[in-house]
């Protein structure tokens, strides 16, 4: 009886957790965690996407990102210098052995230039991360609300 209830709660908890983690993608030693994007205004030309790469193995390098959602996809980094926010292109991103790299607002991001359609909250679209060793890894980004800076699953965890 007790174990039955226990198992049921576990299954319920699992059912609740799965949709949030559905977008996680593991390839070999690399895990791409919870890719997300932000809704755009009608007619907006650009969007941005974020995720975290967790590497359980040897060093690898993210070479480029592809997506059918935009005509051009670039990797950029933003940083603030003397009150001015700057953005610069990044040609590749090293993922250290047994380390992680986070793409996030005001930092590394995927720049989706010339969107083929506006991004609406709840939409999903594919991103393919091309690594030097692991090769292409396809993930799905989930579109969050306009203006989101911290995805819902990280809220309350600080920045």
């Amino acid at each position: 009886m007790y174990t039955h209830i226990h198992r049921l709660t576990f299954l319920l908890a699992l059912a609740w957790v799965i949709p949030a983690l559905a977008a996680d993608q593991r390839t070999g030693s690399l895990t791409i965690t919870q890719p997300w994007s932000r809704a755009t205004a009608p007619g907006a030309a650009i969007g941005a996407a974020y995720f975290e790469i967790v590497n359980a193995g040897a060093v690898d390098t993210l070479l480029r990102i592809e997506s059918p959602i935009a005509r051009q996809v670039e990797m950029h980094t933003s940083y603030t210098e003397g009150g001015t926010m700057r953005m610069r292109p990044v040609t590749s991103v090293d993922v250290p052995a047994r380390g992680r790299v986070r793409f996030e607002p005001s930092g590394l991001h995927v720049m989706l230039i010339d969107l083929v359609r506006p991004l609406r909250k709840g939409d999903r679209f594919p991103l393919t991360l091309v690594f030097q060793h692991a090769g292409p890894v396809r993930v799905e980004a989930i579109v969050q609300d306009l203006g989101t800076l911290i995805p819902p699953w990280r809220e309350g965890h600080g920045q």
Binding site: R38, A41, P42, G43, A44, A45, I46, A48, Q72, E74, H76, S78, T80, G83, T84, M85, R86, M87, R88, P89, P105, S106, H109, M111, I113, D145, L146, G147, T148, L149
Partner: protein
């Protein structure tokens, strides 16, 4: 004789002490920073007055003087901005909701730093997606440079590839009072609460008959 002399000395020093105390008190009152009633950073009036001559997304010429009698909130940005601009506008939209009826005295303006790519239609669909009351302003490069300079806003074109450029820019939010004076400056991490608190204060004064 010696006793009177002894008695006068403390009297004189007491007087001197009192005078010194008065002077010290007065200078503390004059120069001690008064705790501000505002939560945002208070700006002293600068040598250059904030001003602009631009065109709104409906083609109407606009200057800052057109908004006299309203509390004006200004953000400089561009629609191809990855996260700073959407985050700032999204926050201001929530501030407007928080303000309730007081929001009628507040006008939020986005001045584009990218007049080449931000067409009036794009500017309109972009800013009104955050709040239908928001207004987008554009103009010639010279007009925008002039507007930005009067707010001490830095901005630079920064190509990221052959056919794309970003615009590096200040991410401050400026609050202009109903008299057209620069009053407050908000940052990316200024909370919705703090914005709403200060805008309510400025809008409240306006209702009490300070408006023209």
């Amino acid at each position: 004789m010696t006793t009177t002399h002894r008695r006068q000395l403390p009297k004189a020093s007491l007087l001197a002490l009192g005078a010194a105390g008065l002077v010290a008190g007065a200078s503390i009152a004059l120069f001690w920073p008064r705790p501000s009633e505002f939560r945002l950073t208070v700006l002293p009036p600068g040598p250059v007055s904030p001003d602009f001559r631009l065109v709104d997304f409906d083609g109407q010429p606009r200057s800052l003087a057109d908004y006299r009698g309203q509390v004006v909130v200004i953000f400089f940005g561009y629609t191809r901005c990855p996260d700073a601009c959407p985050a700032a506008l999204f926050k201001l939209a929530q501030v407007m909701k928080r303000l309730g009826p007081a929001s009628a005295q507040v006008r939020v303006l986005l001045i584009t730093l990218d007049p080449e790519r931000d067409t009036p239609q794009l500017l309109k669909s972009y800013v009104t997606a955050f709040d239908p009351r928001f207004v987008g302003l554009s103009g010639t490069t010279a007009q925008i440079d002039h507007a930005a300079a009067s707010f001490y806003v830095a901005h630079f074109k920064a190509p990221t590839s052959n056919d794309y450029y970003a615009i590096d820019h200040s991410t401050a939010t400026y609050v202009i009072d109903a008299q057209g004076q620069r009053r407050l400056i908000g940052a990316m991490n200024t909370s919705i609460d703090d914005f709403a608190h200060d805008l309510k204060l400025l809008a409240g004064r306006l209702k009490q008959g300070a408006s023209p």
